[in-house]
Symmetry: C2
Subunit: 396 residues, 2 copies
């Protein structure tokens, strides 16, 4: 009787225990599987992320390597054996502050315009004032500069060795005929470097005052050299006929209209303080000198009575007595030509030190200066310019 009860109890206990154990292990197993599944999917996620990150890494690395290689090529030092591809980077040593605010009006024979002044301002790090010592003892100097206004100047930085240029340019006296560009002083050359002689007026600190210039305001300067007559002045040098005829074009006379004085006096009140000229009279002399030599292009000269409405009336070529670069889109100095379409006369413009001087010229070559106005971007033009007052002591 007792043992049967006991074994029944034992059996029941064992059964319950086993049942509990089963249940608990089943529950544990259930949770474990759940966790395992979660981990599994997390592993899959991580693997996907890792893959994508590795791919991105490889792409960034490739991009970095490419950029570094291009950078190396861009700044590579040229090897001596490949001198044909060598590019010599020239950094300007200074800039020109010129009375000529635009290319329009720059004289073809600058030394015949002695009042045409420019102040060269040199970077004082690259050109310490002591490096200019002795320059003032020369009467003249050479300026080597960049034709920075060339519309195609940007080609210099893109495959400079393949910059295209027009091999021939039009020459006025050949009536539209062309000559090789190297037979001219056209600005449109493979290396856009200009050369001009000027008179040395004074040297002060890191600045040089010149006269008889044909440089445009803002021109970057690469070098200044003393003029040595025994090397640079060649007696009896010959030029072709088509050059000689083009350059001695003096006008018949230059007069100022009655209205001019009033308009100019008004300008001078604003502009006088920043001018390179001592007085309004001196500035007026400059106007007269510049206009004494016909600065119009040959086509304009040949058709004085036809109304002309085009950009750049009175345009003169840049640094070039004998080329007529009508194809240079930015040769124009001035766009707001007040040109009456059916008048007998054409109004030309000349901008000196930001002052817009308008004039007419009749068929006999008599110039009538109409008026002067402060041009719309005067403030920009004249900003930071040095004035006559800085040079007064040295010039007197």
């Amino acid at each position: 009787m007792g043992s049967r009860g006991y074994s029944k109890w034992l059996t029941a206990t064992i059964t319950v225990a086993l049942a509990a154990l089963s249940a608990s292990t089943a529950i544990s197993f259930y949770f474990c599987r759940k966790k395992s599944k979660a981990l599994d999917s997390k592993v899959q996620e991580l693997e996907i992320s890792l893959n994508s990150s590795l791919q991105k890494c490889a792409a960034e690395r490739q991009g970095r390597i490419r950029a570094q290689q291009a950078l190396r090529e861009a700044v590579a030092q040229p090897k001596a054996e490949h001198l044909e591809q060598t590019s010599y980077p020239m950094v300007p040593i200074g800039f020109v502050q010129s009375c000529f605010s635009t290319r329009n009006g720059t004289p073809r024979q600058p030394l015949l315009v002695p009042l045409a002044r420019a102040c060269l301002v040199f970077n004082s790090t690259r050109v310490p004032p002591v490096s200019l010592e002795g320059l003032a003892e020369y009467s003249h100097c050479w300026i080597i500069y960049v034709f920075h206004l060339n519309t195609d100047i940007e080609k210099l930085w893109k495959q400079p060795s393949r910059s295209k240029f027009k091999a021939k340019v039009r020459v006025p006296r050949l009536k539209g005929g062309r000559m090789g560009v190297f037979a001219t002083r056209s600005p449109h050359r493979p290396c856009p470097i200009g050369l001009t002689a000027a008179k040395v007026e004074a040297v002060q600190g890191n600045m040089v005052l010149l006269s008889g210039v044909d440089l445009v305001d803002g021109t970057p300067i690469l070098d200044i050299k003393p003029y040595l007559p025994y090397c640079d002045s060649i007696q009896g040098a010959a030029v072709p006929k088509w050059v000689m005829e083009d350059n001695m074009l003096a006008v018949a006379s230059v007069s100022f209209s009655e209205g001019f004085s009033a308009s100019f006096a008004h300008c001078w009140e604003i502009a006088g303080k920043k001018s390179l000229y001592a007085s309004s009279d001196e500035f007026q002399c400059l106007i007269k000198q510049v206009l004494s030599w016909d600065i119009r292009s040959v086509s304009q000269r040949n058709q004085p009575h036809y109304p002309v409405f085009k950009k750049g009336n009175g345009k003169a070529s840049y640094d070039s007595p004998d080329s007529d670069d009508n194809h240079d889109e930015d040769a124009s100095g001035y766009e707001n030509d007040k040109v009456p379409l059916h008048s007998d006369n054409v109004i030309y413009h000349l901008i000196l030190e930001g002052i817009n001087v308008s004039y007419r010229i009749d068929c006999n070559g008599n110039v009538m200066v109409e008026e002067a106005m402060v041009s719309s971007d005067y403030a920009n033009v004249i900003q930071n310019h040095c004035s006559y007052s800085m040079w007064r002591d040295k010039l007197s």
Copy 2:
């Protein structure tokens, strides 16, 4: 009897089943846990890998961005407002083949050495022959070139805006005194650009023959411009006293030793075919013309009787009548000076078209030309040079 046996069997079955179930769930649980642990550690691994990959990715990206930015700056088109940092890369349009094989001997007043010839060879892609049309009608031209022999030329490509240079150079007549470099024609300038005038003899295809040159063989040419006397020839240009005195140094006489003819005839057999000169007589005239103007440096002139053993005897400055750049390490043209240490006379050397001409000069300025030898690197020097035969028709 039967039911008790049945329930015992049932109990036993249930017990066994539960035991089996427990065992199996325990085993499953065990394996699940094992897998779960493996997954856990895998997850940790993956997380570490992913982290490290993401960090690497960020680093590569930063490197790429930096490289691309540097690349952009290196090739950036300059903005007009930042012209101060603009570098204008100038690629030569051609090279000089000159009778002067080294800087040593280049004349100070080249136009006084009319037999000094050079053949300019232009890159026919950049300078198509038509672009030279009309140049031959001018008697003279300007050559704008690079002072490629400057020892510090490589600084141009490293931070060109900060290339250091000596602000003042020694000027002979000031007995060691210095002048600003821009008051001289010294080659050591921030922009190493040279300017020289020469006579135009002939133009053929993409080549120009010049005379009266002072250019060194191999000089890179940036530009050639016609010489316009009404712009470029300035009457009465003044220079400082210390310039004037230095340049009219003619020697008393130039004679050829007895041994010269034999040694020179031997040279001419080898060199005559490749020479820019029509005959050995013409070449001998060249030697005489070059040596007629004292090309020695001032210090050498002042101490003719002291034995001198140094590199570059007879060194003349490059494109520079009035500077004495003894500090230019590579100014020497020739290193194998045969200089007897205790002799009264010094032997100088001059290399023309690869022919080494040796001479002495006594205290009265009489030059005795000793002998001529084909120099050791003659083949290199004269390689690809055009010869007189190419120009014969044009010159006669």
